[in-house]
């Protein structure tokens, strides 16, 4: 009964979404507010119904309703309570419900915020959002029905993918999906602007904060994904350039480009066409990401499943891209830029270059991700494009971006006078060069590492110069130091939020550089009592313990880590799940600001007399998470409502 209710709710929601999309569009075209109001009600109805769907599926998980196929595949009697809830979105069908629910939520908030404020655009925004929602509801009702029954009803289910049994898995998809679905809002406004022909700056002003919100969640999702990868997947890294990771990274890159180029349009009324294109591209890439994860076209560790669903997503992607880009071409005349500039040495140029590099990076990642397909289509030969390639080609692009990160915020608009350049960059450049010399003198041999660190110092110095200059200006006005600094952050929250984000990126850069350049690892087989040494650490194997957990069997090794004195006992494990072909690694680590000791258990003798262990000393990885925290705080600061204008 419950599952049928869920299916019915999805079908009614689909009908409502379709009606709402049509009603809002008709209302806008014929000037009948009643229809728009009806669409608004439809959107509310969709939200209620999708919430119900979500709740019913969760309920089916909680009561172990194995007559529902999705429940039977993704849970079993041993699945702990907590993971029965997160398991709801652990696989394809449930993840799409979560996605649709978030989209419905965003639509609701858009209605609440903008129904009064964006008269011309608003009905069309509603149409676009409800259309996108209708597509996902179509997927739920036709391609991936979460409430499909299973006969005969099995006595026990198969169980959740063990890799998903982690706290990171509650937050990672939620954040990532909030980012992905959040992009729909600026996209809807962009399309509304194109449809109505009001391609001025209104839509940019209205969606600015929405874009930062989506960007914030995308960043958070990527960071938690990295954290999960490092702490759970057990390969000692945080980013594998897997197709699915790339799929989440590309919209992040293009959204970052958009956040910057928007400033040029706000300030200088230029780049209208470019900004619209960027939003369309970003939204297209989020759809591409869902397509990639769910179509099975490109093999990936994260891939959900294969099946007809890929065709659905590709068709929708085609529809969206062709429609949106055709609208763009149609409005070309209204969009042609009337840009003017006094000098090539100006902030506009810096932002344009920043956009070129970000889009080039996104394109590089995209091309690398689909290149195996291209190679197979053209040559008939399967090739792989993996981490070594992506690292090699992207590092120069990212270093150049970091350089621009220092230049962009301080160089003057329109024309940078020699005086502006000197005042802004003399010190940072000097400090950066000095840092490069110092790092070389300290014996850092990797040129890339020296360059990355020196650039980091340079950019940090530019931020310091700007902040101290602005603070001094306020001090001269008679403010005291701390209120002056706080006031700056609060009153110019967008500018200084941006600086904090930049600072976060610098810290992440530090972590990435350190882990790439200085991490060491070894793999060895130890008899009980024997010890291995690496980078000043001594790791002694003390034996194995086996335990029976609620849904798996766990063999853990005990390893005493010491460097002169005993630091800790690490227990990396292998977890044997009945439903999995091979054991899942359970890593153990000792985290630190300078370095992490990271152990992965390999093969072992049954009697516990010996075990193979992979021992890694990963340098500066913690700074990636610290930088991530700083970055998200900065984004939050930028999201805060403006205080500049009287409320």
């Amino acid at each position: 009964m419950i599952p049928e209710l869920g299916s019915a709710a999805a079908i009614v929601a689909l009908a409502l979404a379709l009606w709402g999309a049509v009603a809002a569009a008709t209302g806008a075209r014929t000037g009948r507010p009643a229809l728009v109001l009806s669409a608004q009600h439809a959107a509310l109805g969709v939200f209620v119904l999708v919430t119900a769907c979500f709740a019913l599926l969760t309920y089916a998980f909680l009561i172990f309703d194995f007559s529902v196929r999705y429940v039977a595949i993704n849970t079993n009697l041993g699945t702990p309570f907590y993971y029965r809830i997160t398991g709801v979105w652990g696989a394809l069908e449930g993840s799409i419900i979560l996605w649709t629910w978030m989209l419905a939520l965003y639509t609701l908030i858009v209605i609440l915020r903008h129904r009064e404020s964006a008269h011309e655009l608003y009905p069309w925004v509603l149409t676009v959002m409800l259309s996108v929602m209708a597509f996902f509801l179509l997927v739920i009702t036709v391609a991936a029905p979460p409430f499909a029954r299973l006969t005969p009803v099995p006595a026990d289910g198969r169980g959740l993918n063990p890799l998903l049994e982690d706290t990171g898995m509650i937050t990672h998809p939620v954040a990532l999906y909030l980012g992905f679905t959040g992009v729909t809002v600026p996209f809807a406004f962009a399309l509304a602007a194109l449809i109505t022909g009001r391609v001025g700056d209104a839509w940019i002003t209205l969606t600015r904060r929405w874009t930062i919100i989506a960007w914030y969640f995308l960043s958070l999702g990527l960071l938690i994904g990295g954290w999960w990868s490092y702490h759970v997947l057990g390969w000692g890294g945080y980013w594998a350039w897997d197709p699915v990771e790339n799929a989440a990274f590309m919209p992040w890159l293009t959204a970052t480009a958009f956040l910057h180029s928007v400033m040029v349009q706000e300030r200088r009324r230029m780049l209208k066409l470019w900004n619209l294109w960027l939003v369309i591209l970003t939204f297209g890439l989020t759809l591409f990401g869902t397509f990639l994860t769910r179509s099975g076209v490109i093999a990936s560790v994260h891939a959900f499943t294969q099946g007809s669903i890929g065709v659905f997503f590709l068709s929708f992607l085609a529809l969206v891209l062709l429609t949106a880009l055709a609208l763009l071409a149609w409005r070309w005349d209204a969009l042609s830029a009337q840009g003017e500039l006094d000098s090539v040495v100006s902030r506009e140029s810096a932002f344009l270059l920043n956009n070129v590099l970000l889009i080039a990076a996104a394109f590089t990642v995209f091309f690398g991700t689909v290149f195996p397909l291209l190679s197979e289509a053209v040559r008939g030969v399967k090739v792989s494009v993996g981490a070594p390639f992506f690292n090699q080609v992207n590092v120069p692009l990212f270093l150049a971006l970091i350089f621009l990160m220092g230049v962009g915020p301080l160089i003057a608009w329109r024309r940078a006078s020699p005086d502006n350049l000197r005042r802004s960059f003399l010190w940072p450049v000097a400090v950066g060069v000095a840092a490069a010399a110092l790092f070389s003198a300290l014996g850092i041999r990797s040129t890339l590492a020296v360059l990355a660190l020196a650039l980091t110092v340079f950019v940090a110095a530019t931020i310091a110069v700007d902040f101290s200059r602005a603070t001094r200006a306020r001090l001269r006005m008679g403010e005291r130091l701390l209120p002056a600094m706080g006031g700056l952050l609060r009153r110019h929250n967008r500018r200084y939020g941006g600086f904090v984000v930049h600072l976060g990126i610098l810290i992440v850069t530090l972590g990435v550089t350190g882990s790439q350049a200085w991490s060491v690892q070894t793999e060895t087989t130890l008899r009980r009592g024997e010890a291995a040494e690496l980078a000043g650490y001594r790791v002694r194997f003390d034996g194995l313990t086996a335990t029976e957990e609620s849904n798996h069997f766990k063999v853990a090794g005990a390893f005493t880590v010491s460097n002169g004195r005993v630091l800790s006992v690490l227990r990396p494990a292998k977890k044997f799940y009945p439903q999995e072909q091979s054991p899942i690694a359970g890593v153990d680590y000792r985290l630190g600001f300078g370095e992490d000791v990271y152990l992965v258990l390999g093969d072992f003798a049954r009697d516990g007399s010996e075990a193979t262990v992979k021992l890694q000393v990963n340098r500066l990885v913690s700074w990636i998470w610290i930088g991530g925290a700083v970055l998200t705080l900065g984004a939050l600061l930028a999201i805060l409502p403006d205080r500049k204008k009287p409320a």
Partner: protein, 178 residues
């Protein structure tokens, strides 16, 4: 400034990308063609699950069906085990030998597997993974059909069916008798 028609290149630029992605539906990313087909099969000398020596060289002159499996490979290996046993019984007198190679497995689990299915053809363990790598195995089950001159002639990925077994074996049997 821009010719009117040129602007329509913007939406058109999406078409090749979409076409490439659509092409993706026609290929299976997990199906990687083996470069070994047509090449001589690597020799190996392993021990059977019971501890007897087993060498590929000793089977020269016979058609060899070399099957890589593991007890944890469910369901595919469980589906194909009866198929292999059935066909081995049917063809053993016509100069066909089936050899199973158990990879990345525990001895007891593997022994239980062969016992449960009553497998009577020789099964060996590849404890070091060397034979798996020599044959470019990337998952189980995979099955190689080796002709009488010791060349790999076909590779079958996934559970072997009666039809696939017969088709490949009959072809190799017919070759040198004619």
């Amino acid at each position: 400034m821009t010719p009117r028609l040129l602007r329509w290149l913007i939406p058109l630029s999406a078409v090749p990308v979409l076409a490439l992605l659509a092409y993706g539906f026609r290929v299976n990313p997990r199906d990687i063609p083996s470069p070994l087909v047509g090449r001589p099969a690597s020799a190996f000398a392993l021990q059977t699950l019971e501890g007897a020596p087993l060498a590929l060289e000793a089977q020269r002159g016979k058609v060899v069906v070399l099957n890589f499996w593991a007890s944890w490979c469910y369901p595919a290996c469980y589906e194909e085990a009866p198929v292999l046993e059935r066909n081995w019984r049917a063809y053993r007198d016509r100069g066909v030998v089936v050899i199973g190679v158990d990879i990345q497995d525990k001895l007891e689990a593997a022994q239980k597997f062969t016992r449960d299915f009553g497998l009577s053809f020789p099964n060996a363990r590849d404890t070091t993974g060397k034979v798996s790598v020599d044959y470019g195995v990337y998952g189980v089950p995979e099955t190689f059909f080796i002709d009488r001159r010791g060349r790999i002639r076909a590779k079958h990925v996934g559970a072997v069916t009666d039809e696939a077994f017969r088709l490949n074996v009959e072809k190799l049997l017919s070759e040198t008798t004619g």
